[in-house]
């Protein structure tokens, strides 16, 4: 069994390492300082289990997991995060609250060993990630991956969002990025006074709009500062007008 520890604090990693000594079947392959290293290591090593801290530099543990197609089983470790703990409890994923005892560690490991036989990690991680990414704390950025590189997009840099099959295409000043989420997800997490769903497949950052032109029958086109054009449906136009205070 291959194990990876991802935590930005060296001593926090060392205690897991110490507890792992009692499990010869669990082989610690890599230790990572942050989510970037974590993504790389997970792709290279394809571990069976990772120990993942939540509060880490640049991208947190949840954001890191979102970037991985087939996530491994995860035991979360965190010092204090009420919101995350609530999410763990409601999605039956095991977590360790720092500082944790060896007994507690053993419990988590044996729980994982049990679960490992029956369900795949994705089954319980997907709903967990969905619920934590709706947390208010995550609203100021979106983390995406492009050609193996991780990018953090501040919300204000987003011009508009476009539905593309199972993905959402995020258009920014630096080009566009795909994110494995639904329009509905972005509609719930983004600030409703800044982002308006103007169309079944489009959401626009209203601060980027320079003008709104009529376009065919009941439809309109929002013209952005960047030159982008975003379709506005009849109902979308009503929503847009109320946000803009027209």
């Amino acid at each position: 069994m291959k194990i990876i520890i991802i935590d930005d604090e060296p001593l926090a990693r060392s205690i897991i390492k110490e507890y792992l000594q009692y499990h010869p079947d669990l082989e610690l392959i890599a230790e990572c300082n942050d989510g970037f290293e974590g993504v790389k290591a997970i792709q290279q090593i394809q571990p069976d289990l990772i120990f993942l801290d939540i509060q880490m530099p640049k991208i947190n543990g949840f954001e890191m997991l979102e970037l991985i197609e087939e996530p491994p089983a995860v035991i979360f470790t965190t010092a204090f995060d009420e919101y995350a703990i609530h999410a763990f409890e409601s999605h039956a994923v095991d977590y360790l609250l720092k500082p944790f005892s060896r007994d507690r560690f053993e419990k988590a490991v044996s729980k994982w060993k049990q679960m490992n036989k029956t369900i795949t990690p994705k089954d319980h991680l997907t709903p967990l990630l969905e619920s934590v990414s709706n947390s208010p704390a995550e609203h100021h950025r979106v983390v995406v991956k492009l050609a193996g590189k991780i990018r953090i997009i501040p919300i204000d840099d987003i011009h508009y969002l476009e539905a593309a099959d199972d993905y959402v295409k995020i258009h920014t000043k630096d080009g566009s990025f795909l994110k494995n989420k639904t329009m509905g997800h972005f509609e719930t997490v983004l600030n409703k006074n800044q982002f308006v769903r103007t169309h079944r497949s489009f959401m626009v950052n209203v601060t980027e709009i320079t003008r709104i032109d009529p376009y065919e029958k009941d439809n309109h086109l929002a013209i952005l500062k960047s030159g982008g054009r975003v379709p506005v449906s009849k109902t979308g136009y009503v929503k847009l007008k109320s946000v803009l205070g027209l």
């Binding site: 930005d8 604090e9 060296p10 001593l11 926090a12 060392s14 205690i15 110490e18 300082n33 942050d34 970037f36 509060q55 880490m56 530099p57 640049k58 010092a79 204090f80 609250l97 720092k98 500082p99 944790f100 100021h140 950025r141 953090i152 501040p154 919300i155 204000d156």
Partner: protein, 352 residues
Amino acid sequence: MARSPISVSKFRNSFFGWWLVWAVLHASLILNYGYSLNNAVIDSLVTNSLLLGACWIISNILRYYLPYSDRYLYVLIISVIFSLVVNALSKFILNLILTDISNTNYLIFLSNAYWLRLGISFLLIGCMAIICVLWYTQEEEQENRQRKNDAEKLSRDAELYKLRQQLQPHFLFNSLNSISALIGSNPSQARKMIHQLSDFLRTTLRKDEEQWVKMEEEMQSLELYLEIEKVRFGHRLSTSIMKDEGSMHMLIPPMLLQPVVENAIKFGLYDTTDAVTIHISVLRENDSLKVTVQNPYDPDTASPRHGTGFGLNSVKRRLYLLFARTDLVETSAKNQVFTTTIKIPNHENYHH
């Protein structure tokens, strides 16, 4: 309950002084009309004792019951009733005492002067009643003011206390986790960290907002905090501290700088993946202290709201509550360095 005016010695002395003058005047007036000294003294003593009693009762009635509206009508009615009672009683008592036949003339004089005596009693009692009303109104207002001040101070103290107490639970639990790890690998380092953490926690538990501390003490607790954080983050965190010796004996509110430094560490460490150096400088500028804290940040990912908001709001609020100024915390972001500047005015100029 408000104090009665008679319980205040200054008022009591002048009241009895006036009463004596008034009693002497009363007696000499009657002497002037040609009645005997005996008559004059007895009349003056009886009437004025009754008036004194009436004043005392009125001051107590108004002390326990003072209506909010129509208080002057109430005073008028009370004064009329009391002057009627005083006059009736004085007439009755004098008639009882002065039974000798030689006093008949005097009793006739008394009965003739009824309306005049009633008027004078009314004026005196009315005066006393109005003085009491004014006195109690003022006492009540003073009490209300005091209560309001106390309540404001209490809530301000509570808020300040809360602002000071905003030590992140993250810090505490992560430090304990580091200690737990060190116990296995490096017990003496673990023990050292327990001592540092205890010393640091002790300084945060200091309750009294009034008790400002020397900058030197604040720096010691700040250095403890930084030492603990360095153990947690290992080589990623280093600090450089520059302090002007002249500033070390100046006074500052306790635990003011810790949240600023905590903010810088969080911002610096969680916004970059590189090693981070936090710069702290403490300078004396004229009569005030100027503390600057700098941390690196990534302008591409830190949104401006994110950058300035963070943990600095509590510091701003606290400085506002202490100094009623909003210009004491300044932040700037330049060349991937985020700078927080805090000015702390001289203790003497503000301390309440």
